[in-house]
Amino acid sequence: MRDVAIIGAGITRFGERWTTSLRDLCTEAGIAAIEDANVTGEQIDAMFVGSMSAGRFIGQEHVGALVADYVGLGGDLHIPATRVEAACASGGLAFRQAVAAVSSGMSDVVVAAGVEKMTDVGDATDVLAGAADREWESFAGATFPGLYAMIACDYIHKYGLTREQLAQVAVKNHYHGARNPYAQFQNEITLSTVMNSTLVASPLRLFDCSPVSDGAAAVIVCPLDRAREFTDTPIKVLASAQAGDTIALHDRPDFSTLGATVAAGNSAFRQAKLERKDVDFVEVHDCFTIAELCAIEDLGFVPKGTAGKFTEEGQTQLGGKLPVNTSGGLKACGHPVGATGIKQIWEVVQQLRGEAGRRQVEGAEIGMTQNVGGTGATVVSHLFGRV
């Protein structure tokens, strides 16, 4: 197995991109990544594209081929492109496929992209509900916020989380988003903004929920020993982990512990031979505020039931012990579902290169990502370091 490095990363502005199509979003992010990596089309061996549900959001399947074609890698160069799907973990999983392709020796220079065009559909709630068990959760009345709300209800019952602690996750992520020029929401909010917003699925309110977004992101990987051909600041992939769980929330022994996050996190730390204290910052899957609290506990950074207090103390904000979601997270940066996993990695690249501007984590050496599909039936986690 060969060591793998990221040599380039690109992203689009996330948000309601009414004038931009799926293929144009991908082209925008793809060109940015290719220019960043200083590679030519002829040097690229393969491409993986994460997309949760282009079929239902815009009626388009065969997204790998479409994207490869419109970024100029399809028609003349005939580069193989594969679409990867694991609901909201599609992006992280596309990256993992790219790492596997390079690590195995099958390919050298590989693009991992993620995209979603969500604003062209009316009932996005129903499309997203397809990430759960359609027959026995969604059809029975479970919306996606409803499922995470049941995780929150269980968590509050067991650990006594306060409404203010939960709201602080969104306040903190908007603080970070206000420092990310690519974020959907670049405005700071207060606790009362969250606590007075409309109820979506009790106890979750509108500002506990990530938005519907359009956007794309792309990164380029190659063998570590070739990385210096392309860049002076390669980022090494220290670990690539994936874990699974039951598709339905009701089949989990503990609703407020994502077993797949625990498994993927443990695997990642084992692979990298690192301790939790070695990690300087983490990008986690805060599709809802409660999910961020579960994530930092299930990854092992704080004991179960204490993430609310840790957040309230400011430890997950820039300047705290463990900055979480400096990109603004899914809440403020936006959540184009297939793109999110790649956006997390893009943010890690900005931080480890020291190019994150007003949201820079000082002296960042090691970064981690955690990308969740559904309510935790797929979790993909990566560790990255400077070289």
């Binding site: 009932d123 709630t125 129903d126 509900a129 068990d133 027959e135 026995w136 959760e137 969604s138 059809f139 029975a140 009345g141 479970a142 919306t143 916020p145 409803g146 709300a149 049941m150 995780i151 929150a152 209800c153 269980d154 019952h157 409309t198 109820l199 979506v200 699925a201 009790s202 106890p203 979750l204 339905a248 929330l249 009701h250 089949d251 609703f255």
Partner: protein
């Protein structure tokens, strides 16, 4: 949901017919054709659930998909049946009535109608067991 997709699971949806693994004794609702604990050593047979259970966690849904838009706000819950398996369903009660540990029992109800001339889907919901 197409007619056949709904119709093929009428015994399950109408009457809470799940499955049981005779090897390890686990009951499954929603039904499983393979025991995830015993895998190929399991012996799966149909099993009639009693419909009695308790609320494990819940949420009041205020923003619904089109299917249940007219019902909002409604109580969604994960219910542990007395056989030990768990199911996601509606609890028909006032939003402030539901609590963790609430005893419930299954009832046969209309789930939704596919428009004025469309198929009516029936199925199982739960009510407080008093």
């Amino acid at each position: 949901m197409t007619v056949a997709r709904f119709w093929r699971e009428i015994p399950q949806r109408y009457n809470l017919v799940g499955t049981k693994c005779e090897t390890c004794g686990s009951v499954f609702f929603p039904p499983r054709a393979l025991c995830p604990h015993c895998r190929r050593d399991g012996k799966i047979v149909p099993y009639q659930c009693s419909g009695k259970g308790k609320v494990m966690t819940y949420s009041v849904i205020h923003s619904a998909s089109d299917q249940y838009f007219d019902l909002k706000p409604y109580v969604l819950a994960i219910i542990e049946l007395e056989e030990g398996t768990r199911v996601t369903s509606h609890v028909i009660c006032e939003p402030d009535e539901v609590y963790i540990g609430m005893p419930v029992t299954s009832v046969f109800r209309v789930l939704d109608r596919e428009g004025p001339d469309g198929v009516i889907h029936y199925g199982t919901k739960f009510v407080p067991d008093v």
